[in-house]
Symmetry: D2
Subunit: 355 residues, 4 copies
């Protein structure tokens, strides 16, 4: 029930605010005996870290992960793995404006309505900075899933989609957008830079593919693999939509068009299509698991927007300072992390019930 | 962790198979003192029940709910409310074909891969018949939410969308499609009947609006109201996509376009748009909560589809018998039920923490 | 969080009241492929059933279990196993006295204080009748634990203890007290009959031994095997104390006396004592797991006791009707059931984490 | 399901090992707006801290708590409260003996059997040092329970009990044993010092009373207040027995003797006895909640004990170094902390369901 905890058998709890001294994750239920060092986590942190290019926020955080427990002589012991990331660049700025008025589209008003008070510095707990802890936990989850290959990429920024015939996963690490289409990446430089300079922001779509997931993971009926993935992805900051496989497109297909015919193969069934996104009845089928995630444009824009103050009076607010012009970009490693965490959880849950 | 249990504080557990003697839900955590009779649940059961029109499956089930516990002298006692629905029309048919071969798009293969065996009669536990139990539980959840008004409707069948300027909620109960646009409902008669006669099937989109939800419900960061809704909706049979508010459309907007400006109002803030779908930072804002859900066309089609048998050999299968040509239609009351269950759960969770 | 649900990976939810139409358990997470019929559950129900001798309540309930879901062609499918027991002998009596005044020692006052209302017929949900559902679930849990042998017995009634040098497990089924000491069983006939005739009641101690539990089950630090057993046992109606191994006696020992020395054995370590009761650090050691449980005398006595009414005024109440003179006796199969449920749960939890 | 997490609505997760860099607790679900500073937690840490007298282990740890999240401008925000305690005095000693052989009565063998490896330095995660994190969390829980007064004390060391007629709670803080009987405290100095000098150890009984708990907390049937307390207490290191109210003594009483008669009082019912320990049917009655907890003598003794090595061969081991001669003493603040955590959890759970 713990709302800052995610997972069923492999569970992690995150804590921390944007401008507190640190944030972290406690990963519980991790199998023993897995080789784990801070260096094995760090590359995933670096992928998500701010300040890596001019297309992301200029806050500079090393996001160095410390392992505080659960590892002995380089291996997990089966006890909780506590991961901590110290905040370094909490720029001392004047938050009086944000303290007094609500930024539309942010969590400001909702937090005040719920809790009666809020940590307004950098968004507090509602900041996407919290996702650093998820990425750290996700890096460990990957180690629990040897053989499973998880790849996320940006397929669309604003209205500009990639050319799927030009997709090349080897391109993803070659540009600052996690873009598998080199030509699109080039176009996006101008697009995102334009938004940044204008103090505006852009939405994006991130896709994630998990290969080599065996058939049989997922737990009907309220722990369905797709349901857990949907909850995991919708819980990422700024996400407004989630699709599995053909998604909303499936609503426009006929049953014949949507079918994924099966043929006998050497290593189990071969599927002739994957509209299902690798999941049927909430259980993996052995096909690649495919998720699409819609990120809204961040609400942090320079234009003044009508709002109200804590005093209930009309006012306007514009968000200055260091922000991502397109939060979907840095959301990509977070999508990968959540995919890894959900899959590792279900691998273990399956093992509990089915041996 | 119980995978046939849903919810955080208000929890329900469902059980039962398509062709077993009965199915049911145990709703736990219900506040005491709420007036509850079987007659108060039945209308919601009837809305979902099969055999109501020629546009849904012809299986005839009265879906009469029995309250077996948790109610005394017409009021809930705070103990588990056990709801049972007996199966009546489990037509004795020959399941040998389904027993031997996997229907592509169904859970057949995945269940066998997971469990090593399956109840193949009518899909067993993977049948949408299980959603009757959710609707029963949802009917009770509505009673926990006095004042909240929940309305779901079909906004699209196949490629045919409603005209939003013609939307009229009073129409929803006037046609067999839960359609708020009378003209669209007329068009859909031919559309769905055509699919039915052809032994084909159609996808659909269902939208759900919850009005009068106060600001402050939802639990960051892994019990966000939108994340829980996404998981709840994606867990409904045949669902492949979920959007909150502007959803995937938000990915194409600029920050300026996506903003929901606020103005001072007599009873709290007034919002000038609702791209957020009533949720910010995972917490309700007081605006209507809006969810869109994509249903795939059912895989039960008359056309023969390539598949494999349990023996691993190539074969073909076509699904005869009684099936919904468009499962999204009868999914509408299920979407409403899940909305009610998630909201009631979060109302109580909010009360636990914030008094 | 569901308070009528027990367990971590293998979970069961019970529902029902003493005088409702039925009660039941939904067992979720059960491994697939286990042979299960109603006849395999019934003997455990019969052991707990009322009306078996003059030493227990004269309410006559067949306690016939119906399996409503989760089993197909004689084997579990991995979906929820719904078990229902219909109430048959809800004698129509006058409950007006219990409705108006609180029976001291019963849950009457506490339920009213919590919920504002209560089902006073036979104690409603607080009746020990609910334990029938646990015994049904426990019977299934035993099937998940092939090889583990669970034996509970009454070791003390009132102040009369068994002679441990005369213990013989084969005697347990030979007398109406689950007593392993034939001489004590003979003495208890007069003791319990005397209490019954006097309208009084007696406390008891039940011990439970689980043999062949492998080393390694249990989950530090808040899912310790002993902690889960303590919670499980203390949750049985009328239980006021739980000990593991030497229990309170260990508080009087020196470290030297309390040590369980180990010696090398052919099949793993041999322990030269078992003060630990088979659990160290919350994890099983491979020794027999030993629990002792104290049952209070039931509060249902014929003597008039001072109490207050719902109106807050002083009055007196005496409990007539059909009651157990010593609830610990029929608690014995419940202790066994909870032991089986906790062990099966931990077997599966261990498998989830450690493979 | 997270086994290093405790609680239902108010949940805390602990992490850390005896000889790691730090340990901590993440307390989730804390109500917002509660005044909280590190200085408000520290006195409870100091009460449990080692090295306070010659009667406890000589390891010297300041046990200074840092609040890393969840507090803003001196008040809780409703987000997770992360509490960290750095380990300071991890004496660099030679652990080769413990690495190679199992200390009987410790978790050494069980951890190896479960996980295949273990952090043997100071017992790793199985060390009672973990309870520092519980005490920190418990200090926050107390603040959620204004008005409730929680007092634990040692009532027995070895075979030497306090004189209940001489009990005076004001004495508890006046001696190093948390003893409410000054004369007993004087006797215990010699008793405990003798055990310490002999390299032996002593068991103890700790009692805990919670006053001003309102009627109505507790959640039948698997979240009973007494069941949750039993699980909480049995999960404390070295605990082997738990009693509520009259406990095992109740097994020897008749129903008449065990009754707690009620009389009308100005502020609700007055009870004329408290054999129930303040809980009936799993729900608080408004009387003081009373728990008794048995601590075994620590297994860390100087005498050589027969054991086996990791290699399976016979050997002997004696535990040198810094250990508590009577772990029950420092267990007292831990018992108080767990009482506070269980009560605060149930206060919030009650509020969720019953408003």
């Amino acid at each position: 029930m713990s709302v800052n905890t995610f997972g069923r058998v492999l569970r992690f709890t995150t804590w921390g605010e944007s401008h507190g001294p640190a944030l972290g994750a406690v990963l519980d239920g991790c199998p023993p005996g897995i080789a784990l060092t801070e260096a094995m986590i760090q590359p995933f942190m670096d992928a998500r870290a701010p300040g890596q290019s001019k297309f992301t926020t200029q806050r500079r955080e090393p996001d160095a992960v410390k392992i505080l427990s659960g590892v002995f002589e380089g291996r997990t012991t089966g006890t909780p793995v506590s991961l901590m990331i110290e905040n370094v660049d909490q720029r001392s700025k004047d938050y009086s404006e944000v303290a007094k008025a609500y930024r539309p589209g942010h969590a400001d008003y909702a937090y005040d309505a719920k809790y009666g008070l809020r940590d307004y510095r950098g968004g507090g707990r509602s900041s996407a900075r919290e996702t650093a802890a998820r990425v750290a936990a996700g890096a460990v989850a990957r180690l629990i899933l040897p053989g499973v290959k998880i790849t996320a990429y940006v397929s669309q920024i604003g209205r500009d989609e990639i050319d799927r015939s030009a997709m090349d996963f080897s391109q993803i690490g070659q540009n600052p957008f996690f873009c598998p289409d080199a030509a699109a990446a080039t176009r996006w430089e101008a697009l995102v830079d334009g938004a940044r300079k204008a103090g505006s922001s852009l939405g994006a779509v991130v896709e994630c593919v998990a290969e080599n997931v065996p058939a049989g993971w997922g737990a009907p009926v309220y722990g369905k693999l797709d349901a857990d993935l949907a909850g995991a992805m919708m819980g990422i900051n700024a996400v407004k939509g989630v699709e599995i496989g053909a998604g909303f497109g499936a609503a426009m297909l006929s049953g014949e068009e949507n079918a994924d015919p099966m043929r006998a193969g050497a290593d189990g069934p071969q599927f002739e299509a994957n509209n299902a996104g690798g999941i049927a009845g909430g259980i993996s089928t052995g096909q690649p698991v495919i998720v699409r995630v819609a990120f809204k444009p961040t609400s942090s824009i320079l234009s003044a927007v009508d709002t109200i103050g804590r005093d209930g009076e009309n006012t306007q607010i514009s968000t200055k300072g260091r922000h991502d012009p397109c939060v979907g970009i840095r959301g990509t490693p977070v999508v990968e992390a959540m995919m890894a965490l959900v899959l590792a959880d279900h691998m273990m849950l399956h093992r509990a019930q089915c041996g």
